[in-house]
Amino acid sequence: MNIWRATRLAKRALFWAVLLSVMVFVLFPIYWMLTTSFKEPLEYATRTPSWFPHRITFQHYREIWKEGAYRYFINTVLVSLGSTLLSLGIAFPAAYGLARFRFPAKLDLIFLLWVLLVRMAPPVVLAIPLYTTLQGLGLLNKLTGLVIAYQVYTLPYSIWMLLRFVRDVPIEVEEAAAIDGASRLRTLVAIVLPLVGPGLVATAIFAVIMTWNEFIYALLFLRRPEVFTLPIHISHFITEYEVLWGPLMAIGITSSLPILILSGYVQKHLLRGFAISFK
């Protein structure tokens, strides 16, 4: 009996120890970003780092605001939302088609593998062909162009995610709708769409996170500072002579806030997404 209790205690202790060390590992960088962003330049330049800012200053936040960081913020929001909506708009019908129709010669499987290949290839590989294509279309240096380029990241992912959700919708529900005289399109909109709703939300959140932090395409395809996204703007706080730690940390915090908040929703919706049940 005692041994049993001791093992249980040890198990709990181990659980908490592992949990705590993981938490420290994950949270410490965020803590460091937060405190550094409120420190005065002289303080973070000293040789002995301090745990808390001696004097809290908002100068770095003021500075990034004055430099017009909000414009890059808006650009990033537009690109993220744009590419996510476009992805979902294409991926949902695609996933439905792949789940419900029969294709000759296993075309559906080939298509799915091909899509996966695109996602697995390092994005840089596609950069040069995308660059020339976007240039030909006159979409280089435009946020619309970036939205299209980001489909490389989000579309394959969305198709695969949604495919699973659509497959989980029992065919009987659709058959019932068909018997009641609903057209295919109507079934899709009125029956299937609400049922995969949680799946759509989960997919969207991941797509937003993926595009929010994207660096390489934004770097290569945008050249006017007015259309820069946040990751590109952030990189300019690292100059060849010095790293501007204060503003860098301040903008780091500000730009990750939306994602941190969104991550809160991810958990909830993912759990709901995984627990879809149809009665």
Binding site: Y131, Q135, L220, S235, H236, T239, Y241, V243
Partner: protein
């Protein structure tokens, strides 16, 4: 009636707009001080040529190389003029990404400092001209002349041996002042700090395409670097520009083996500096060889894919002319590349160290003209630091670095 006249007017305006299409140039430039200086030139050029429109993109250093490479290699022609760091020049020029300027009818005049112009040519140093030197960046050496005078030290120090002696004397007698400061961080910083010593000792990294780093001169240079480190602050292994700059401005350092024209003016700015007028700038000392500071010029070239090469050349001529370089230098602290500007009395009156800067520029040595310089810099930077923190002996560090550089060069 009024409406008719208005419409007519509008129509005429459209015709006028069509008849006088503005010629347009796009320049991929730098942000910060470089951008501000180039903007002045752009504005002046547009003022004098009202039918020309120039868009200057002020881009951060990080990512600029990638941005240029993707457009130049794809022949996109998104930029007419590009601003490039001199280590990229070999790659850009040998791959035909830049337009040869002599074919466009340009001949450079002898007023350019020869070292800065030679990196604009491929093959180096007297091949075809593909660019013009815009920013005459060169590594400078800084020391506290008040402290040197106090202890009767050779001012300016002529050789690296003088530097070591001065650092030792000042460290021993001036509490709270580091004898010497430099950038010890792995990679580009430590390599940049070490190169003038390496070259000053008569050694080199690559010569005629072969690695020559594993020489006794190079070992002597690295041993000297370690001797110098005794008088450097603790933790110098992770120092970068900002630490060197802060230490110098705060009066905590007697010697900085590497400072750059971009921030030297701060030393005389009473708002930032505690040592106004006390820091003297000199070309790096020599030893076996003459003074060999590192060249870090920024060049302006014309993209091969530009559809407006003649106009681009006009702008290049304009911005590198003595007249405009002087304006940029006086107004924006630009580092000129012309002898006449560096010796102009009005300019020298404002920037007292310009004679030294000219001397440094004339003695400057460019980094090896090879395609794989960034890899070499990475390797050398790693092994130099291993030697600096005492994990490898100087001999072993250089031998291993030489081996890996040979591999990179062989690929």
């Amino acid at each position: 009636m009024v409406r008719k006249i208005f419409l007519m007017f509008l129509f005429l305006l459209c015709v006028a707009a069509l008849a006088l299409p503005k010629e347009k140039l796009v320049i991929a430039g730098r942000d910060g001080g470089y951008g501000a200086a180039l903007q002045i030139a752009v504005d002046l050029f547009m003022e004098r040529n009202p039918d020309v429109e120039i868009e200057l993109l002020k881009l951060p250093y990080k990512g600029l190389y990638e941005k240029l490479v993707i457009d130049l290699s794809a022949g996109g022609g998104a930029y007419d003029i590009v601003m490039l760091d001199d280590p990229w020049a070999t790659e850009f020029m040998s791959l035909g990404w830049l337009a040869p300027l002599e074919e466009l009818g340009y001949t450079p005049d002898p007023d350019f400092v020869p070292t800065a112009l030679s990196v604009c040519r491929y093959p180096y140093p007297d091949g075809t001209l593909y660019a013009l030197p815009h920013v005459g960046n060169v590594e400078l050496f800084a020391y506290r002349k008040d402290l040197f005078a106090k202890y009767g030290l050779a001012s300016p120090p002529k050789t690296w041996a003088d530097v070591l002696e001065a650092a030792a004397v000042i460290s021993a007698n001036e509490p709270g002042v580091y004898g010497v400061v430099f950038r010890g961080r792995k990679g580009n910083p430590i390599v940049t700090g070490f190169l003038p010593i390496l070259w000053g000792f008569g050694a080199d990294i690559v010569k005629d395409g072969e690695v020559v780093l594993n020489s006794k001169e190079a070992v002597a240079a690295l041993k000297f670097f370690l001797l110098l480190k005794q008088y450097a602050p603790e933790g110098v292994e992770i120092w970068n520009s900002s630490e060197v700059k802060e230490a110098l401005l705060a009066g905590d350092a007697a010697i900085a083996i590497e400072v750059w024209p971009a921030w030297v003016p701060d030393l005389d700015n009473p708002e930032k500096s505690k040592v106004v007028g006390k820091v003297e700038i000199a070309p790096a000392p020599g030893l076996v060889e003459k003074s060999s500071p590192m060249l870090g010029a920024w060049l302006l070239g014309i993209s091969s894919a530009s559809r407006n090469k003649e106009l681009a050349l006009e702008f290049l001529k304009f911005v590198t002319s003595a007249e405009i370089q002087k304006v940029l230098t006086l107004k924006a602290g630009h580092a000129p590349t012309r002898v006449s500007v560096l010796t102009d009395p009005e300019v020298v009156a404002k920037y007292r160290w310009f004679p030294s800067q000219l001397a440094a520029l004339e003695a400057a040595v460019p980094r090896p003209r090879v395609l794989v310089w960034s890899e070499i810099e990475g390797i050398l930077g790693e092994y130099l630091q291993l030697a600096l923190i005492g994990e490898l002996s100087p001999e072993k560090a250089l031998a291993e670095a030489a081996g890996r550089i040979a591999e990179v060069l062989g690929d």
